[in-house]
């Protein structure tokens, strides 16, 4: 998840507030180092990893990587912001400072928009954990250089980005590179168990479903006087579409992907509605605070997708499916339950001891690399990203959008060249407000 848990004020207050705070490691990570990999550590080959994007989730991914085996070491880090890179490094240092696994000398810390190239060059595996707008170019570079990849979802914010990822995916396949995409439900026991049962026809043919990411408020970072417009957008990236893609994509892609996965198809069309009902201030950039989309699949199944980031409302983050034989309810908290059409429980997953899916996806990536196998999540990562983009196109325009039109859309949000000297692709008006899509008026591009 790219969503950052850091609250808007915390960077200001942390200095004072946390002074005197005890820095300690919980027993969790120590205890979670897999024993099975310790034998491998005797070998001389270390797997070199670069981290691109050093926020909270990037740091988490780096922890996951270093916990995936003592034969793995972090050799390079890149971020556009020096403070984020240094915070990330200091957290890693507190946990791994006395191990050979953390091996990032000062000249392997790369600050700036091009830092990802130098970091990638030094590694066997790259962790691409930036805001999603950057992902297509980072991925393209990594596969050109023959690197294995972990990349967070979504993998793009627009259709041109999705096409870049699909094209690069062909190169990755040719080079037999491992590519894991951070749609971690695909690595979660309850989802895998349910997929097996779907294939076993325990709920019959799926005819409909409802997928939800309805939560309360989300973090937002205030503008500071010293920020340029570009720096402000980069720091408050969630609210700018070229960087984030809106929450129907950035968060809710998880549920849309589950629908695609369980149905074994991608939607052929989408129509829906959405808007900015509560989160209207300029500090919330361009994105909507709610979307509701109907996705229709080639077999006729219809999935209703709803996502909302409004405080004080009903919350639900889960997926429900109705089949000809039964109904399924499943969520990321390791729950899954199948009932027959009379509400009798036919199967209930016990997920209390299930592994951390963020660790699991990284463990499987490195195990595949060690064994010379290939995991390649590029295709579904890109296409579920496109399904999210398609849903956004539907709510922004108020039109019915079909899959091919979405795939071939020329609506390009991310500039080819990005550096501190460019003007961001979206700018505020004289009052500080950003252009906001208006259904019925916003054109389909």
């Amino acid at each position: 998840m790219k969503t950052n848990d850091t609250e808007k004020k915390i960077e200001i207050t942390r200095r004072d507030f946390v002074k005197g705070a005890t820095m300690t490691a919980s027993g969790l990570l120590l205890g979670s180092l897999p024993l099975s990999s310790s034998a491998y550590a005797a070998g001389s080959d270390m797997i070199k990893v670069a981290l691109v994007g050093c926020g909270g989730r990037g740091t988490g991914a780096a922890f996951n990587a270093l916990a995936a085996g003592s034969d793995i070491k972090l050799v390079a880090m890149a971020d556009v912001f020096e403070n984020r890179l240094e915070e990330s490094y200091s957290r890693l240092f507190q946990r791994f400072g006395d191990s050979e696994q953390l091996d990032v000398p000062e000249d392997h810390k790369f600050i700036g928009f091009d830092g990802y190239k130098k970091a990638t060059d030094l590694a066997d595996v790259v962790l691409l954990v930036t805001p999603p707008g950057f992902c297509p170019r980072h991925y393209k570079y990594a596969v050109e250089k023959g690197k294995h990849v972990f990349m967070e979802k979504p993998v793009a914010t627009d259709a041109p980005g999705v096409r870049t990822v699909l094209e690069s995916g062909k190169i990755a396949r040719g080079k037999k590179l491992n590519v894991v995409v951070g749609l971690q439900r695909r690595y979660q026991n309850n989802y895998r168990e349910i997929l097996r049962r779907i294939h076993n026809r325990e709920i019959g043919d799926i005819v409909s479903g409802q997928v939800y990411w309805n939560q309360g408020e989300l973090w937002m970072r205030e503008r500071k006087p010293e920020y340029s417009e570009l720096e402000y957008q980069m720091r408050n990236w969630y609210y700018f579409n070229w960087l984030c893609g809106d929450h129907i994509l950035e968060q809710h892609v998880h549920q849309i992907d589950v629908a695609n996965w369980f149905l074994g198809q991608y939607p052929e069309k989408a129509q829906g509605m959405g808007g900015r009902e509560v989160r209207r201030g300029k500090e919330y950039g361009q994105i909507f605070d709610h979307h509701f989309v109907e996705f229709t699949y080639p077999g006729g199944a219809v999935i209703a997708s709803q996502c909302r980031q409004i405080p004080g409302c009903f919350m639900r983050v889960a997926e429900e499916f109705q089949g000809t034989r039964g109904v399924l309810s499943i969520d990321g908290s390791n729950n899954a339950i199948i009932r027959d059409r009379n509400q009798n429980v036919r199967f209930e997953h016990d997920g209390l001891e299930d592994p951390n899916p963020y660790q699991q996806e990284i463990d499987e990536l490195f195990e595949s690399i060690r064994r010379g196998h290939v995991i390649d999540n590029t295709d579904y990562g890109a296409k579920s990203t496109l399904a999210g983009v398609m849903g956004r196109m539907a709510t922004y325009t108020g039109q019915m959008i079909d899959w091919d039109a979405a795939l071939h859309s020329q609506d390009k949000l991310v500039p080819d060249h990005i550096d501190w000297d460019i003007e961001p692709p979206v700018l505020p008006d004289e009052n500080g407000y950003y252009p906001i899509p208006i259904p019925g008026q916003t054109p389909v591009l």
Binding site: T24, Q94, G332
Partner: protein, 363 residues
């Protein structure tokens, strides 16, 4: 900030339901002597003499705490201090070695929130409100650093775990978040609030001076008073929707487990000092484990008891994808909530500061 559509419901609920019910029950107990109303499986419990010595102190009565700037209120129930036998007696059903050996413990008087802090009460805790409305002198009075009251970062996801929001107990917050909430409430109300110690919690759960309410092994009674695995349908339930204990406190043993002020020690009872341990408190200096009391909607009937205790664990945040893990939310602890106490004797500023525990990053 958030919609206020729920507050009228809460207010109605509180004024029409909770207070009269609690008051009525208390009257009934004073009038009849409460022991016969509750199946007392714990017949070996001493009923301390405090019950007869205790005169009603007009300044120590139930009241409703308003929270400035909102319509949400908090019902506070007086718990007259006393000396009690803490821990499970040897041989009691469900005995856990961490719940004994029994010791004599005394606790001071305090008010306790009548029920687990609800989502409506918890969600008031926003930085915007705090910054604008709490004067620095107010913070200084309590020894609270202005920077120390920060709002929890919002969780990404459904903090209710699909179990409902309006009228339900807030869950999943870290121990630190519960401590800062108490700090925030202190600054908002001008009255010192904190989490209960383990000793205070167990004393209140057992019915304070009445000390007869454990209902161990009485499944029929349990059903009337508590939410647990057998009747919860694996979901937390609305606060105060079962019967209260003799003091008018709801859901102590069940519904959701509750944070206390203590670090968790397996050998808690062995660590107590003196013939009668006086207001024991083990101040936390590690992130895990911290003491959680009572059972939850997930626990079997056998764990629904006043002595039930467990320590928090890093596992409760195992699905947090970020490092450090959230200071504010456990991704995997939908069974833990909290309630607060307000000591009858307001402690000194220095003593209060002992309770404002600093955060420890969770790597």
């Amino acid at each position: 900030m958030s919609g206020n559509n729920h507050t009228s419901i809460v207010k109605k609920y509180v004024t029409e339901s909770v207070i009269p019910a609690a008051a009525l029950l208390l009257l009934v107990f004073f009038a009849t002597g409460c022991s016969k109303l509750f199946g007392t499986a714990e017949t070996d419990q001493e009923i301390p003499g405090a019950a007869t010595e205790h005169e009603i102190d007009p300044d120590f009565a139930a009241y409703t705490q308003n929270i400035h700037g909102s319509e949400v209120t908090m019902d506070m129930v007086p718990v007259q201090g006393g000396t009690f036998t803490m821990g499970l007696a040897p041989g009691e059903e469900g005995k856990d070695s961490h719940e004994g050996p029994q010791r004599r413990v005394s606790v001071g008087s305090f008010w306790m929130t009548s029920h687990e802090i609800s989502w409506e009460q918890y969600e008031l805790f926003h930085l915007e409100v705090v910054e604008k409305e709490i004067a620095e002198e107010q913070l200084d009075r309590f020894g609270i650093e202005p920077d120390a009251i920060v709002t929890p970062s919002p969780p990404w996801g459904d903090k209710t775990f699909g179990m409902g929001r309006i009228g339900y107990p807030a869950v999943g917050m870290t121990h630190y978040a519960a401590v800062v909430y108490a700090m925030w409430l202190t600054a908002k109300t001008g009255e010192f609030h904190r989490l209960p110690t383990e000793a205070e919690w167990e004393y209140a759960c057992r019915g304070g001076i009445y000390q007869n309410y454990n209902l161990q092994g009485d499944a029929m009674a349990l059903e009337e008073y508590e939410w647990f695995r057998g009747n919860s349908e694996n979901s937390y339930q609305k606060v105060a929707s079962k019967k209260p204990n003799p003091l008018g406190l709801y859901d102590l043993k069940g519904n959701v487990a509750e944070w206390t002020m203590d670090e968790y020690h397996d050998d808690y009872h062995d660590r107590l000092d003196g013939e009668i341990a006086d207001n024991p408190w083990f101040k936390p200096d590690v992130l895990y484990p911290r003491a959680v009391r009572g059972g939850s909607y997930r626990d079997p009937a056998g764990d629904i008891r006043c002595t039930h205790r467990r320590g928090s664990d890093g596992h409760w945040s195992r699905n947090d994808p970020q490092i450090p893990r959230s200071m504010w939310w456990h991704t995997d602890a939908p069974f833990v909530g909290f309630r607060l106490v307000r000591p009858k004797e307001t402690p000194s500023r220095e003593e209060m500061m002992e309770y404002w525990i600093l955060p420890i990053f969770d790597f």
